[in-house]
């Protein structure tokens, strides 16, 4: 189910909110879990088996680890002591949790990629008899990258002694499956919501701010991201383009992915607030960054901090020397790239970011153009990010290279692509494009805008909601970009 769909907005959401507030507090997590399963199962009911399996394994693993940790005064499992060598039972429990989650992710996300890459390699080497003739095409379950990471963070935190294991299965299932952020993040860590699962306070202030978050998120998606997506789709599907068209296309994509994904995060945060959950910020005006290092502190913060805490630091982080730091950075970004999608173009995207991060690390976490005025630093960072988005968006690696050549004015575009100008340079798209630029670089972010809700802002939020619904009626199925990851 998509937040920006008729079914969600006018049937699912009102019913869920009404029943949620009618139920007594102890029943609310169970209800949230059930409706989250309905929400998730709407994409494909069979995917529920995977979600439940992942939840069950991590729940049991958590309890296994906590069995040797003693009890709190209220009888709940205690924290494992930090800095103490773990027993084999704890190691086994963590191993089973990690293995099952990574196997799930590996099989469902990377099986086709692995087979295709292997076949491509043996064909290139002239060893066609080694080709794997596998008929099976594995379907990627929605949001598997998000909930496996979220679920794994729980067992890792328990193992490390950063979080207490949870005994209440319903609460844990609620944490893993919570519909506002289940399929496209933000990735919530157990330690961030453990207290809120046990007891949270729903207030009118939080609910009102949640409504404002939700309205702004919906507007970002429908009013800004979708038209930019139309520009980007048209131009990226257009083969060899002229230089101007290519820059217009990739910038439109940069706006699309930012407004699309941050819209989802805003709506998720808003829905969470309506039900008393407080989720951390996921985007902090990333295109205002003055270096790639800063960009990764502001873009998809829940993923970058997950990768930092559960991959980069365990690999040694920056503690094992300069060379190892660069290797770690590169490895984390390559894996981060592949986390987004099972294709070499994502690995290239991650590799490019990793290289730039390593380069900036070498000069003190600053961009190599840090002596320039701030405007130019931001501009150059944005241009680097645009180049990397080409690999993210293009259909495949050859198409990405063709697009990069167009950006550099090296491609000879056929006359047929001129037609696309008649489609994408319409005043409506140009106005939307300009509005996106203003919001990206000059407008307050959602967190700031909703901090103090005045009458004026109330009217604006509601007007945006109504306008979004009207526009929504004109748009057919428009899932969020991150749904496919």
């Amino acid at each position: 189910m998509v937040f920006s769909s008729h079914l969600f907005l006018f049937y699912f959401l009102p019913v869920v909110l009404a029943v949620y507030y009618l139920l007594p507090r102890p029943a609310r997590n169970l209800f949230l879990t059930l409706v989250s399963y309905l929400f998730y199962g709407w994409a494909n009911p069979l995917f529920l088996i995977l979600l439940f399996f992942s939840t069950l394994v991590d729940y049991v693993a958590g309890l296994m680890m906590a069995s040797g940790a003693g009890r709190e005064a209220d009888g709940s499992p205690g924290l494992l002591a930090k800095g103490v060598l773990r027993r084999s039972r704890e190691k086994w429990a963590l191993g089973i949790s990690l293995a099952s989650n990574l196997l799930l992710l590996g099989f469902f996300k990377y099986f086709n990629f692995g087979v295709d890459s292997f076949n491509g390699l043996v064909t290139a080497l002239g060893l066609e008899m080694w080709r794997l003739d596998v008929m099976l095409r594995v379907v990627l379950p929605l949001g598997i990258s998000f909930y496996t990471f979220q679920s794994m963070s729980y067992t890792i935190d328990v193992y490390r002694g950063d979080a207490r294991a949870i005994r209440n299965f319903t609460d844990f299932a609620c944490f893993v499956s919570m519909f506002p952020q289940l399929v496209a993040g933000p990735i919530i860590r157990f330690s961030e919501v453990a207290d809120q699962l046990r007891g949270r306070i729903e207030t009118p202030e939080l609910f009102a701010r949640g409504v404002a978050f939700f309205c702004l998120g919906l507007a970002k998606k429908v009013i800004l991201a979708n038209p930019c997506g139309k520009i980007a789709d048209t131009l990226f599907d257009g083969g060899v383009l002229g230089c101007l068209d290519a820059w217009y296309g990739v910038t439109a994509y940069a706006f699309q992915i930012y407004f699309d994904f941050s819209a989802y995060s805003d709506m998720a945060i808003g829905l969470g607030l309506m039900m008393g959950f407080i989720f951390p910020e996921n985007f902090n005006s990333p295109y205002r960054s003055q270096s790639i290092t800063e960009f990764w502190r502001r873009w998809h913060i829940s993923l970058s901090s997950w990768l930092r805490d559960y991959l980069y630091i365990p690999l040694g982080g920056s503690r094992l020397g300069t060379r190892r730091t660069y290797v770690n950075l590169m490895l984390v970004m390559l894996l981060g790239g592949l986390w987004h999608g099972a294709a070499w173009k994502f690995a290239v995207w991650g590799g490019l970011h990793g290289s730039l991060l390593a380069l900036e690390r070498r000069i003190g976490k600053q961009s190599f153009y840090h002596r320039l005025p701030p405007f130019f630093r931001t501009a150059f960072t944005f241009i680097f990010v645009l180049f990397t988005w080409v690999f993210f968006r293009a259909a495949d690696l050859p198409a990405a290279i063709t697009f990069c050549r167009s950006l550099l004015g090296l491609g000879a575009s056929p006359d047929s692509t001129l037609l696309l100008r008649g489609v994408v340079f319409k005043p409506y798209y140009l106005m939307t494009f300009a509005l996106c630029a203003v919001i990206v670089w000059a407008a307050p972010k959602t967190w700031e805008w909703t901090r103090r809700l005045t009458w004026f802002k109330t009217v604006i939020a509601l007007m945006l909601f109504v306008l979004s619904v009207i526009l929504l009626s004109m748009q057919s199925y428009n899932p969020f970009i991150y749904f496919i990851f």
Partner: protein
């Protein structure tokens, strides 16, 4: 202070931020209640609308649409019981059935909603009228011209023979997991080989997409001096087929010679004059190739009729009835009359078979509302002065017509018996968007020319 802030976890920061929320109780209450009201209003108005329709007799009962959820468990249950194989196979069959029902349920809710019926047309009107924006399938061109998005995507998109494009299409599996065969070359070669084995000559006739013939109606700076915009693989396909000895009738050349517009303004198809120009040139080519035995003219004549209709692309915009943005277009048809003074009829005994799609059907099929007896087969019959047989399907014609040939053969019919020429007409965009699976045909015998009279 900074040090204190940096020690906060992201969760703490979020909590601190939320604690800073400032909203007056009255303002907050209004925001919440208006938001909830907006959500519920759609639901309530929808039910009021359903009730009104029920009392007007437009609905069989007063049950709200959203509670019609019975099929969500009945259909999967039935699928589980009736399907065969292992429990897992039955479960997946039930799951597929459930997915289908859920999709139908959601689509029904959307399409029957008052938002879609009342708000969408008005919003679309504003966007089309003031911003010249179409929708997911329609691009607004200049001077009241509309373009079908798949036509533009095909014309200006990546080459359909590009290996990457072929691969990505092969991986898309719309038909219950059966991958699409995206390469038209292989299918055309195969079809030609099968027909040649029966002594039949194939003429491949891709009909160009409207943007290829009228690019300046979409982008005003597209100069007349430039060649027509074509998909990068189009010329490659034509030259490859010709090098293989396969006859290609490229009607873009014919249509380009005509100065005036040959496409309907708000429709994907050609004008009657376009169909006639193509038929005339095709007949000339067939004669020049000497594929058919000489015979006296059959006596087909034509008469002029005027027809008006709204284009299929305009219909996709779903504008309000009274909008008046795109009025019906009047066209002059030349209906073909048989020697017996009746409207033209296909002849199964003809030695010419036309396999075609909606380009062949538009002025022939009554359901398309553009008149009858003036389609491509009729005009070809007129210019050849001999009967013509035809098999046509509006959608996915290149694939569906071959499938129909095979089906008729399986049913014991002989659709290719006595044929000398098969003309395979299809919209050029199918080269990039169609399914090009090979379809095996049974060999059929050619009949003597004497039997080929109507």
């Amino acid at each position: 202070m900074n040090q204190q802030k940096s020690n906060l976890t992201r969760e703490d920061e979020a909590r601190v931020e939320m604690a800073r929320t400032t909203v007056s109780p009255v303002c907050g209450a209004w925001l919440i209640s208006l938001f909830i009201t907006a959500l519920l209003a759609v639901f309530v108005i929808q039910y009021a609308d359903d009730l009104t329709q029920y009392f007007q007799g437009a609905r069989p009962d007063a049950v709200p649409e959203f509670v019609r959820i019975k099929p969500l468990w009945i259909t999967p249950g039935r699928a589980f019981q009736t399907s065969e194989g292992s429990p897992w196979a039955r479960l997946t069959a039930a799951n597929r059935a459930l997915l289908g029902e859920m999709k139908r349920y959601e689509t029904r809710l959307e399409e029957t909603s008052w938002l879609a019926r009342r708000v969408l047309p008005q919003a679309q009107y504003v966007f089309t009228r003031w911003f010249r924006i179409g929708n997911e399938k329609v691009y607004c061109g200049r001077k009241g011209e509309l373009f079908y998005r798949p036509d533009v995507d095909f014309t200006a998109g990546r080459g359909f023979l590009d290996p990457g494009q072929l691969r990505s299409r092969r991986l898309s599996s719309p038909d219950r997991g059966i991958p699409v065969q995206p390469d038209p070359l292989a299918a055309i070669r195969d079809f030609d080989r099968e027909l040649k084995a029966m002594g039949i000559r194939l003429i491949v006739m891709p009909v160009p997409a409207k943007p290829a013939r009228q690019p300046a109606r979409l982008y005003k700076h597209y100069s007349d001096k430039l060649p027509p915009p074509l998909n990068p693989s189009y010329r490659v396909l034509v030259s490859t087929l010709q090098a293989d000895g396969i006859e290609v009738f490229d009607c873009l050349e014919t249509l380009s010679k005509h100065k005036k517009s040959v496409y309907l303004k708000q429709d994907t198809h050609w004008l009657p004059s376009g169909a006639m120009l193509a038929a005339e040139a095709l007949a000339r080519r067939i004669r020049a190739m000497g594929l058919l035995p000489e015979q006296p003219p059959a006596g087909y004549t034509r008469r002029e009729v005027d027809v008006a209709n709204r284009g299929d692309i305009a219909a996709l915009l779903r504008l309000p009835e009274e909008a008046g943005l795109y009025d019906p277009q009047w066209v002059e048809l030349f209906q073909v009359i048989s020697p017996d003074k009746k409207l033209w009829m296909r002849s199964e005994r003809s030695d010419v078979l036309l396999l075609g799609d909606s380009f062949a059907n538009i002025y022939s099929l009554p359901s398309m509302n553009w008149g009858v007896s003036a389609g491509l087969a009729e005009q070809l019959s007129y210019y050849l002065q001999r009967p013509v047989d035809r098999i046509t399907f509006n959608d996915n014609g290149a694939y569906a017509t071959r499938l129909e040939l095979a089906r008729r053969q399986t049913a014991g019919m002989h659709p290719l018996e006595g044929k000398r020429v098969v003309i395979w007409e299809f919209a050029a965009r199918e080269l990039a968007q169609g399914d090009w699976k090979k379809i095996p045909l049974k060999p059929e015998e050619a009949r003597p020319p004497s039997a080929l009279t109507e």
